[in-house]
Each structure stands twice: as C-alpha cells, then as structure tokens.
C-alpha cells in the first residue's frame, strides 16, 4: 500500500521530477526495491528520528 501511494504521488509530477517521501523503517526495503525496479532513483536518503526521508527522482519516460 505504501508503494502504491508513492507511485500515485510520482504520477503527479513530471518525468525527472523530484519527490520527498517519509518512510517508516518497515517500509524501506519494499518501497526502495520497487522504486529501483521501476527505474526511479533515490537521490538522497537520511534518517529523521524514527523515519527516513528519501528524495526520489522520477524515471524520465516510462510510467503510466
């Protein structure tokens, strides 16, 4: 479900656009591996207390 929400948010921004997402630890593996599988890039990641802030760059032409 978390990745579905991220994917929907990515669809609202243009190709190569950037999106910041906050993820709980338990969602990290599935969301990041799904992002990588769909060609998006995690360009920055840092811990913010109990969650992680990820900057995601949308894949340039695939999606939809």
């Amino acid at each position: 479900m978390t990745f579905v929400k991220v994917k929907m948010a990515l669809q609202k921004i243009g190709p190569s656009g950037k999106l910041d997402i906050l993820l709980k630890e338990e969602a990290l593996k599935n969301v990041i591996s799904s992002l990588k599988a769909e060609g998006h890039k995690v360009t920055r990641a840092e811990r913010r207390d109990t969650v992680f802030l990820l900057e995601v760059e949308r894949e340039s032409n695939r999606m939809e």
Binding site: E25, L28, K29, I32, S33, K36, K41, V42, T43, R44, A45, E46, R47, F52, L54
Partner: protein, 293 residues
C-alpha cells in the same frame, strides 16, 4: 501377510492401514512438483484402485489410500506407465522437499527444484539407520523450514559493501533483520558485514539506494540434524557457505556416510550428532570433500 512381506511393501512406500487388507500408497514426488499428465494418472489410479481420494502429505507428497492388498502390483504398474513412481518408507532417504526457487519466486536465491532433482537422483530410497529427510529452501525466508530436516539447505545471498559508492544513509542497517550490518560513519574500508551473523537474506542489497551494498555471490547454507515428530529439534549450521550444487551433493554424500558409520538403528541423525558432537561431523565431511572435490 507375514511381517517380512509387509516390511518389503513398506520399504516400497505401501503402508498398512488400520483396516486390515488396505494400504495407503505413497508416491514418489520431488519438491512437490507433478505434471498435469502425472496428476491425471494419479486421479485415475485413485478412482480405479482406491476410493477416489488422495492424501496430500505434510512433506509435499501424495498418497493414495484404501488400496486393497491384491491391487498393489496393478496400481504400481498403472502409475509407472505415466511416469509416477511409488515412494519409500522405513530407514531410507525420503522425499526431498523444495520450494519453487529462483526461476519462479522473486525472493529465490537458488534453483531449489533443480537441486532437489539432483539430491533425489543421488540419494532417494538409499538405506540409512533411520528415516532421513532433506528439505531445500531457496532463500532466507525459509518456506520449506530447512532446520526441521536431517539435512536442510537454504539459499544465501552474500552482500559486499563498497565505501566509495556509499552515501552513509544507513538504510542497510535499518533493514537488516539480524542487525549485523554496521556501516562506519566516516567512510573507509571497515568491514561492513559480520558474516557470522548474516543470514544471507539480501535485504540490505535490495534496499540500498546508492548501489554501495552489492551482491557478491550466492550460495548454499547447510543445516544438519533437524527433525520434527515427538521430540522436535532444529538442525545446526555446518560447513559455512557452499558455492555449487555439486558441492552440496558431495556434502550430503559425506553426511549420509557419516550417519551410516555412526548412527544406530531407529536413531534419528540429530540424536547421532548429540552422541558424536557436531565437530566430528564437520571434520569428517570437510576431509571427504577435500579428498573428493
């Protein structure tokens, strides 16, 4: 039927039922895989020789119950024409269980069905002091419950950390289920993964955003002496990580010979190991594998 005759039938997978004159016939199934052709033959056999039902066993096998004694030979002959063999029971190497492995499952690290076939070809039905079970899980998720088997095998993904590519976000530390990944804060070539605690799940590799945590290799982790039944106990890790299916088969051959040399009748392998100690097995298997690589 005298006991000697029954023992022979049992060895061939035909087990006496509570009701006199009826048998439940165990079939030879490897890793829970059957073709539809085989399934149709089993259906036909259950209708013709049993009472139109089959039993799915806990170790991925199939049994046809309610077969009268005088139909056993005909059933065996009928099934063999469709490539379905009968199973084994008694003090033998039993059905090899396996998951679908890396060709089907996204989590799979090894080709479990192919390894199951190789192990089955080499050891199925071979005589040992007591029942001996082999189970193969394709990855650390361990759907086959490797540690419940006399020999359990698990696929293992070996991670490698590269300080140059690392952004030190420490997501790998957060996702590691055993918390063995420890990334140095300021860079450098510090050992990132303590292999003694790594379960080879590959989560750190999948979650790494920068590609600093990479897959170095895949292999096979071996567990020995597990069982379920009345007094369950879990198998213990032996031999480190093996690299090829051939090494796994060679290791099992050495373990089976060790069991034959040291096991007593009706003693499960785990109980033999409690008498001999695990190091005796490991030393013996390593020596064998060095002599016959």
């Amino acid at each position: 039927m005298n006991e000697a005759d029954y023992k022979e039938l049992k060895k061939g997978g035909m087990m006496r039922q509570k009701e006199a004159g009826l048998f439940s016939v165990r079939l030879h199934v490897v890793g829970g895989r059957l073709t539809t052709h085989q399934m149709r033959a089993i259906q036909e056999a259950a209708d013709r020789f049993g009472r139109g039902s089959v039993h799915l066993t806990v170790r991925q096998g199939v049994e046809i119950p309610f077969v009268p004694t005088d139909s056993l030979a005909a059933l065996k002959e009928f099934l063999s024409r469709s490539g379905v063999g009968v199973g084994v029971c008694g003090p033998t190497v039993r059905t090899v269980t396996a998951c679908q492995g890396c060709r089907v499952c996204p989590s799979g690290a090894i080709d479990s069905p192919a390894l199951a076939d190789a192990v089955d070809r080499e050891f199925y039905g071979k005589q040992v002091p007591h029942k001996f079970k082999v189970g193969i899980s394709g990855c650390a998720n361990n759907c086959i419950k490797a540690e419940e088997n006399d020999i359990g095998i698990k696929g293992f993904v070996q991670p490698r950390w590269s300080g140059d590519a690392c952004t030190f976000c420490k997501i790998c530390e957060a996702v590691c289920p055993t918390k063995v990944v420890r990334i140095p804060s300021g860079g450098g070539s510090v050992e990132a993964v303590d292999l003694s605690g790594c379960i080879g799940c590959g989560d750190c590799i999948e979650a790494c955003p920068s590609g600093a945590m990479e897959e170095e290799s895949r292999g096979y982790q071996i567990f020995a002496g597990g069982k379920f039944g009345r007094i369950p106990s879990l198998g213990k890790k032996i031999l480190g990580i093996l690299r090829t299916p051939e090494e796994v088969v060679a290791a099992i051959a050495a373990v089976v010979d060790f069991f034959r040399a040291h096991g007593k009748a009706k003693e499960r392998f785990g109980d033999t190991l409690r008498r001999t100690g695990l190091p005796a097995l490991e030393t013996n298997v390593r020596e064998r594998m060095v002599r016959n690589p």
